[in-house]
Each structure stands twice: as structure tokens, then as C-alpha cells.
């Protein structure tokens, strides 16, 4: 079933050096941005500037992480032959696509949410005012961009056999 595929994929991805490294990178970017801001004097523009800097960093890091993660989810599974395990078990094609989408989403969304939480915590500690009306849209935009801000990352489409699943499971991130 899709939830078993999602859980399997999530656990598998968590042990990938790339996913671990990417999560560390996101957290480091957040902490770096935060500390850069903290060494300056806090002004009324600080929250906005923080968002601007973080947004810039995330808009590069998140699509790349999503791309590599989804590549692993689809192509690696096919190339290594483990797809034959997946299809030999009573999973439908839909179970596999939905399960992989959710499992891999988890590995991308969790570090994003974690980074934002760290930044918010840092702001509380530093006494910078938190305006939820500013931060919540930022968070939701990182995870699920609105149509307006969604932009293509890939030029030519990937190989035909994977294009549907690949763009499907990574499309949510950019």
C-alpha cells in the first residue's frame, strides 16, 4: 500500500548521505543568516531582511535538494532493480507514485520546517519581533509555492519513462 511505500522510502532516504548533508546545509544557512543579522543592531526592518536573505538561500537549495531526492526515488530504484521488489509486492502503480511522493516530501519538508523553527527560536531569544503574518506565508511558499512564483527549473524534459512521476513528485517544491 502507498503508506508502506512512503514509510519505506522515507527511512531509505533518511540514510542517504545527500539528504543528511542537505538538511545540515539548510539548517546551517538558516543559522548563518540569523547570526549575521544578530551581530547588527536590530532595526524595524530586521524581520523583513531576514526573510529576504533566507528566501534567497532557500530558493536555490530547496529545488536542488528536491531534484536529487526525486532522482533517487525514481531512477535509482529503476536502475538498481529494487523496483522489481516494489512491483512484485501487491503495490499498484498509484501506490508507488503516491507513496514515493509523500515519503520523499517528508525528507525535504522536515529540514525546511526545522530550519524555520530554528530561526524563529533564534529571533525569540534575540528579542526580534515575530510577525506571524509575514512568516507563515513564507513557510507555506517554501513547501508549496503558489502558481505565481512557481518557475521551471529544468529546461528540456527528463527521459520520457520517468517524466510523469519525476515532475509529479518534485513539482511541489518549485
Amino acid at each position: 500500500m502507498w503508506n508502506d511505500v512512503a514509510w519505506k522510502d522515507f527511512r531509505d532516504a533518511l540514510r542517504s548521505r545527500f539528504v543528511v548533508g542537505a538538511s545540515v546545509l539548510l539548517v546551517a544557512l538558516s543559522l548563518g543568516t540569523l547570526s549575521l543579522e544578530l551581530v547588527r543592531d536590530t532595526t524595524p526592518e530586521t524581520p523583513t531582511r531576514l526573510l529576504f536573505l533566507l528566501g534567497g538561500a532557500f530558493s536555490w537549495a530547496v529545488p536542488i535538494i528536491a531534484l536529487v531526492t526525486t532522482y533517487g526515488a525514481i531512477l535509482h530504484e529503476r536502475n538498481s532493480g529494487s523496483l522489481r521488489f516494489l512491483l512484485g509486492l501487491p503495490n499498484s502503480r498509484r501506490d508507488i507514485v503516491v507513496g514515493k511522493f509523500l515519503g520523499r516530501s517528508g525528507t525535504v519538508v522536515i529540514p525546511i520546517v526545522g530550519s524555520v523553527v530554528i530561526v524563529l527560536a533564534g529571533m525569540v531569544v534575540a528579542g526580534i519581533p515575530i510577525l506571524l503574518s509575514t512568516y507563515l506565508p513564507f513557510l507555506s511558499e517554501s513547501v508549496w509555492p503558489s502558481r505565481r512564483s512557481r518557475r521551471p527549473v529544468l529546461g528540456p524534459s527528463p527521459p520520457r519513462s520517468v517524466s510523469t512521476s519525476c515532475s509529479g513528485s518534485s513539482g511541489g517544491f518549485y
Partner: protein, 311 residues
């Protein structure tokens, strides 16, 4: 009742027919073996059964249901060992089993299943560090999850060491005794002979012959070989030998110091030797040898391809 039924199935990839006009039935509770050289269409047949590919023509049904439209149902009741599978290198053996158990809604204990294939001690290791034989054992364990009614095993003993082969044959017999139907492929005649109730020979996408291994050997007139060393080969020796009852073939060995005779066991051998003595060839020595299985296999395939027996 037939558990697996192929009816006039054809599968083409472009202009190449991987399987042609295939009709076969695997009956409930039997161990059916697919024998054939590489590229014969064995894997395509399994892929059709599991809905990895769809037939170009004909129908495939499993448990009386359409293999394509009701594939999830079919796979729920089937244990699968596919060809060219790869393990999840980052997941442990136990996690592989847990995944299979959850997906099949089975109640097995992962460690019990790993114990059956002799991988209990490696349960916590990442499968990426397993040897080829261990990966094969893991794949077999995943197929056994949930006591499936049908086991579909593509080249299950490839990569297994001799101990693994013995273990595998025991497991398959246990499964059959439990009531499971087994459909496996192999290119090892010996294994199929030891294990299967019935065998189908596939070559170039066609089912050439079906039956027990002994029936097939008989049909191909595969007989033991007797080599008779002589001083010289008289002109009429071969003719005389071929007339002996129970002798199917006779030929002079390349170095002209011996004749090779294919004949039944028992008195036929004695009669053949007598014929040599009577011909004045000068009997030096003789030895008999059972048919090597790979040769028997080749002869079965050839005989089946020609649609009859040959000597």
C-alpha cells in the same frame, strides 16, 4: 484447478516475438519448472504473469482472474522472486522483510522468515553489504512472506552456493507440502529434475515440450554412452552394432581406436559388446558413462525443436 493459465499468449517487442502462441497451465499444488536457455522467453512469461508487461495477444489468468486488470489481487496471493532485482542497499535485511510483511498485510515475524533462509545473524546489517548469495536468500525470504498460494521464482538458485541450493530445495518442498503452487524457472536440469513435478521446455519463445523430466529424457532418447576400445574398426562394425536390439546409435571415435554406442542399460550393453567381439575388431577395453545432464538438456531441446525423437 489451474492456478496459472496462459491461453494463446504472444508478446512482441517491436518486430521481435519474445513469446509466441504460449498456452500452458500450472495446476494447483504442483511444482512446475520452466527450462530453457537464456533468452528463451522465461522472464517475459513471468513478467506477463505479474503484469510487468501486457500481452500483445491472448490472455493470462492467475487464480482464475485476469493477470492484468486484477494484478494487485494476484500479487497479494503470490510470492515473487524477480530476475535482476536489486536490494535497498541502505535498508537492513529485517527492514526488507518488514516492508514486505506490511505491504502484504501478513503477520509473519521478520526474524522467523530470515531464520528459514539462514540470514538471522545478518538481520541488522544493511543489505548493501550482503554477498550475492545472501541477497538471493533475502529475495527468497521476501517471496515467502505471508504464506503465498503461488510462488513465482525466476532463476531462484542463481548465486546460491551448494548449501544454499540444498536449503532452497528443502524450502520449496516445504512450501509445496503446505499447499502452495510453485512456478519456477531454471537452466539447471539437475535442479528441475530433483524438484519439479512437471517441466515445460521453452526455446525461442515457444513451449516445445511438457512433461516430467523422465518423460522428456525418454522422448529425446537420451541413453547412456558406452565407449568400446578396439584394435581396429572393421567396415561392417557400425552396421552390425546398429542392428543390435537396444542400441540407438553407434559411431567411430575420431582417433579410430574406439566406437561409441548409445544403448539401454542391462543386456543391451552385453549384446553390443558381443557384436564387437564377433566382428573381429579386437576388444581392448570398454567403459560406460551416464549422460551428462547438460548434454541431456541440449538433446531434449533439440529433440523437442524437431518435434520428435532423434538418436
Amino acid at each position: 484447478m489451474a492456478v496459472v493459465e496462459f491461453d494463446g499468449v504472444e508478446k512482441r517487442f517491436g518486430t521481435v516475438a519474445a513469446v509466441e502462441d504460449l498456452s500452458l497451465a500450472v495446476e494447483e499444488g504442483e511444482i512446475y519448472g520452466f527450462l530453457g536457455p537464456n533468452g528463451a522467453g522465461k522472464t517475459t512469461t513471468f513478467n506477463l504473469l505479474l503484469d510487468f508487461v501486457e500481452p500483445s495477444r491472448g490472455s493470462v489468468s492467475v487464480f482464475g482472474r485476469d493477470a492484468s486488470t486484477e494484478s494487485t489481487y494476484v500479487r497479494h496471493r503470490t510470492g515473487v522472486l524477480a530476475e535482476d532485482y536489486g536490494v535497498y542497499a541502505r535498508l537492513s535485511g529485517r527492514e526488507h522483510l518488514r516492508f514486505a510483511i506490511r505491504t502484504k498485510d501478513a503477520a509473519d515475524d521478520p526474524d522467523d522468515v530470515l531464520e528459514r533462509v539462514g540470514l538471522r545473524d545478518a538481520a541488522d546489517r544493511r543489505a548493501g553489504s550482503y554477498s550475492k548469495g545472501m541477497r538471493q536468500r533475502l529475495a527468497i525470504a521476501m517471496a515467502l512472506v505471508g504464506a503465498p498460494d503461488l510462488l513465482v521464482l525466476d532463476e531462484p538458485s542463481s548465486g546460491l552456493d551448494p548449501n544454499g541450493g540444498v536449503l532452497f530445495r528443502r524450502l520449496i518442498r516445504e512450501e509445496r507440502d503446505r499447499g502452495a503452487t510453485v512456478f519456477l524457472s531454471s537452466h539447471l536440469l539437475e535442479e528441475v529434475q530433483a524438484l519439479c513435478d512437471r517441466v515445460g521446455i521453452l526455446s525461442n519463445g515457444r513451449l516445445l515440450a511438457e512433461g516430467t523430466v523422465d518423460e522428456l529424457l525418454d522422448r529425446a532418447t537420451v541413453r547412456p554412452k558406452m565407449t568400446i576400445e578396439v584394435d581396429q574398426v572393421p567396415d561392417d562394425l557400425l552396421t552390425a552394432l546398429r542392428e543390435v536390439e537396444g542400441v540407438f546409435a553407434a559411431r567411430v571415435r575420431e582417433d579410430s581406436t574406439a566406437v561409441e554406442v548409445r544403448c539401454d542399460d542391462g543386456p543391451s550393453k552385453f549384446r553390443a559388446l558381443s557384436a564387437v567381439v564377433e566382428s573381429g575388431a579386437g576388444l581392448v577395453d570398454f567403459e560406460t558413462a551416464a549422460v551428462p545432464l547438460n548434454e541431456a538438456f541440449q538433446r531434449i531441446t533439440e529433440a523437442a525443436a524437431q518435434g520428435g525423437s532423434r538418436d
